[in-house]
């Protein structure tokens, strides 16, 4: 969705998230804004706009803040948005920047009362001498108004930068994770949280590992996972202990000695972890691969997919320009049969777990007109080069697809390419396989 304003750094999209039905899609950006898109209902009258997403609401979630104690500016960039399961007519979401999480309530107003006895149309008090009879005010339809209001502000819970939030399946609690700690909150209580993971060492000089992502299990409200900068996953059970510093399970793949380099640890750092919809598997993204883990097997992932292995020989340059620290997200489709993740040059990759086929697609205005079919792309690493192949050396490393999301039920994906949002739909195969 192109912005009407001149593109600036504030417009860079920093997170994308579908709600539980897929009807709404929220994006957060570097300027602290949240934009919510709503899917238009399919109608026979306008078949061309079947199920397309239009802007539903825009609001400023976070503002830049100044921490006077530390003389630090707190960025307003939205790191994560998570929707709450819908429990009434209103929609609710959590949005967070580095330090503060906010609960927003989104309501619709499409009627307004008219015919007050004491007030006139503009709301001014009537002259009582003109009132001769009583009337019952009636609700009349009006243009749809979407109202957004902040319901809770969960502040002062984190010393370090928040990287994840996750709503529990109990719909009452949620967790927030920063580099060293994970806190559990009750959605209705803002003045305290419960610390459930703390990996801060007694001496900061002993710090060798940080928390990079965390998520609650989709069905078991006592289970959650968190990933680390050393490439490990820890599954924790909140019933086992109040402080979950001891994991129930540790998922870690031994280093491949033939691929060992000075950058082994950096590229093994997990940038995202997602439970499958079934709850049986976890998906992780590190710098070069996506991996599927079975919750019952800690020793190694059950599947590993190469996202852009051609970068393995370029790690030194990527270390120098800091690209090696880029944090890519990953996503499951609704049936857990396909996984998706972003890459460079505005490429994103999909892997079909059943057929073992994969595809590289590009999110760019040049290559995708509305309703056009996306053409698979290929990166050539030497050898035979086809006409439309891109060579590794001409990849644009400033065009990174870090944030992607998949509709919970249908083949609709949302891709954030810097300050542009692309929504792709698979019209032919809209049913899940």
């Amino acid at each position: 969705m192109p912005s009407h304003r001149m593109p600036s750094e504030a417009d860079i999209i920093s997170t994308v998230e579908f709600n539980h039905t897929g009807e709404l899609l929220a994006t957060g950006d570097k300027g602290g804004r949240v934009v919510i898109f709503q899917r238009e209902p399919e109608s026979k009258n306008a078949p061309h706009s079947q199920g397309e997403y239009d802007v539903y609401s825009t609001f400023q979630s976070h503002e830049p803040e100044f921490d006077y104690l530390k003389s630090l500016e707190i960025e307003e960039k939205i790191n994560k948005i998570k929707w709450l399961p819908q429990q009434n007519a209103a929609h609710s979401l959590l949005s967070t920047n580095d330090k503060t999480i906010k609960l927003w309530k989104i309501t619709e107003r499409d009627k307004r009362p008219e015919g007050y006895n004491l007030k006139d149309e503009e709301g001014k008090l009537k002259d009582l001498s003109t009132v001769t009879s009583l009337q019952v005010p009636v609700l009349k339809p009006m243009d749809l108004m979407v109202e957004v209001s902040p319901r809770r502000v969960f502040a002062n819970g984190h010393t370090y930068h928040i990287n994840s939030i996750s709503v529990n399946s109990d719909c009452e609690t949620y967790m927030s994770a920063d580099d060293l700690r994970i806190n559990l909150w009750h959605l209705a209580i803002t003045d305290r949280s419960f610390n459930i993971v703390d990996i801060k060492p007694a001496n900061m000089e002993d710090l060798t590992e940080v928390i990079t992502a965390s998520e609650f299990h989709p069905h078991h409200c006592n289970l959650f996972v968190y990933s680390s900068s050393k490439g490990s996953l820890r599954l924790c059970d909140m019933r086992a202990a109040a402080l979950c510093d001891k994991h129930s399970k540790l998922f870690e793949e031994p280093e491949d000695p033939s691929n060992r380099s000075f950058f082994s640890e950096i590229i093994s750092s997990v940038s995202d972890v997602k439970f499958s919809h079934s709850g049986r598997y976890m998906l992780t993204r590190d710098y070069l691969t996506v991996k599927v883990w079975d919750l019952n097997m800690e020793a190694r992932p059950i599947e590993t997919y190469q996202v852009h292995d051609y970068l393995r020989s370029k790690l030194c340059s990527l270390y120098e320009n800091d690209c090696i620290f880029d944090k890519f997200e990953c996503a499951w489709n609704g049936s857990d049969s396909v996984i998706m993740t972003g890459a460079y040059n505005n490429f994103f990759r999909m892997f079909d777990r059943n057929t073992k086929r994969d595809v590289t697609l590009e999110a760019s205005r040049e290559s995708s007109k509305p309703r056009a079919v996306l053409k698979p792309r290929r990166v050539c690493v030497g050898g035979k080069r086809r006409r439309d192949d891109i060579s590794v050396d001409s990849l644009d490393f400033t065009k990174k697809i870090l944030h992607t999301a998949w509709h919970p039920a249908e083949n609709i994906i949302a891709i954030a390419a810097t300050n542009n949002l692309y929504i792709f739909q698979d019209k032919v195969n809209s049913e899940m396989h």
Binding site: T159, D179, R181, K200, T212, E265, S313, Y319, E320
Partner: protein, 238 residues
């Protein structure tokens, strides 16, 4: 651990650095015959310099990206380990047991070492200034944990460290578990501390410029990385 001349560079030097990196990266090329059999044993000093530069840059941020910092430090430790002459070095050398760094590396950076040290001290002096600031409020950590009701005044004593505060003993430490002083502990750095001036006991025949052994450099790096309290005993050989 070396602090080499690469700490403060002009832009032109950085450009040269990039070129030298392209040349030096041969060890990562899987097609290279020397690499095909054995993983890289020794990093080039330019990779080391680059990492130190990154570490320095990361520390200069008002609020360092902890993940970036930790990954750079760990990578630097790997590189450092590979540069040591003895193969028996553990992959993550923990101070102060690590043996000395290769002599040629030290020799090549001796002249500029004191210059970079001076500039580092200058950079860190602004952090030191915070220690004279008014006492910080107590708990910066998660509010949910029971904190034992520590008052702001006691928090400041924690900054001074047990070496100076006779009011503090082990019994008090439980009170401070939840107080996160990570942002303030680094002000304990002072230029006159033992970690910086090796002094004559390092042996005769040394050059005028202070030659720091690896234990001290490691200690120095740890101070740069985080909250190294100065009451910690100095390394061996003192």
């Amino acid at each position: 651990m070396m602090l080499s001349k690469g700490l403060k560079r002009k832009r032109e030097e950085e450009e040269e650095e990039k070129e030298s990196l392209a040349v030096d990266a041969w060890w990562l090329d899987p097609g290279h015959p020397a690499v095909a059999q054995a993983p890289p044993a020794v990093a080039s000093s330019s990779l080391f310099d680059l990492s130190v530069l990154k570490l320095h840059h990361s520390l200069r941020q008002s609020e360092p990206d902890l993940r970036h910092l930790v990954l750079v430090v760990n990578t630097l430790r790997r590189i450092q380990a590979s540069m040591a002459p003895t193969a028996a070095l553990p992959p993550v050398p923990s101070p102060p047991a690590a043996p000395g760094v290769a002599d040629n590396l030290l020799a090549s950076s001796d002249a500029a070492l004191s210059a970079s040290m001076a500039s580092l001290l200058e950079d860190l002096s602004h952090i030191e200034g915070l220690s004279q600031a008014p006492q910080p409020l107590a708990d910066e950590g998660p509010p949910g944990r029971p904190t034992g009701g520590a008052s702001p005044g006691l928090g400041a004593l924690d900054l001074l460290g047990p070496a100076t505060g006779c009011l503090l003993d082990d019994g008090f430490e439980g009170l401070f578990e939840d107080i996160d002083t990570s942002m303030y502990d680094s002000e304990l750095w002072a230029p006159a501390s033992e970690g910086l001036k090796p002094g004559p006991e390092d042996g005769p025949g040394k050059e005028e410029a202070p030659e720091l052994d690896e234990a001290e450099l490691d200690y120095l790096m740890d101070v740069l990385v985080g909250t190294q309290a100065l009451e910690r005993p100095p390394g061996p050989g003192r």
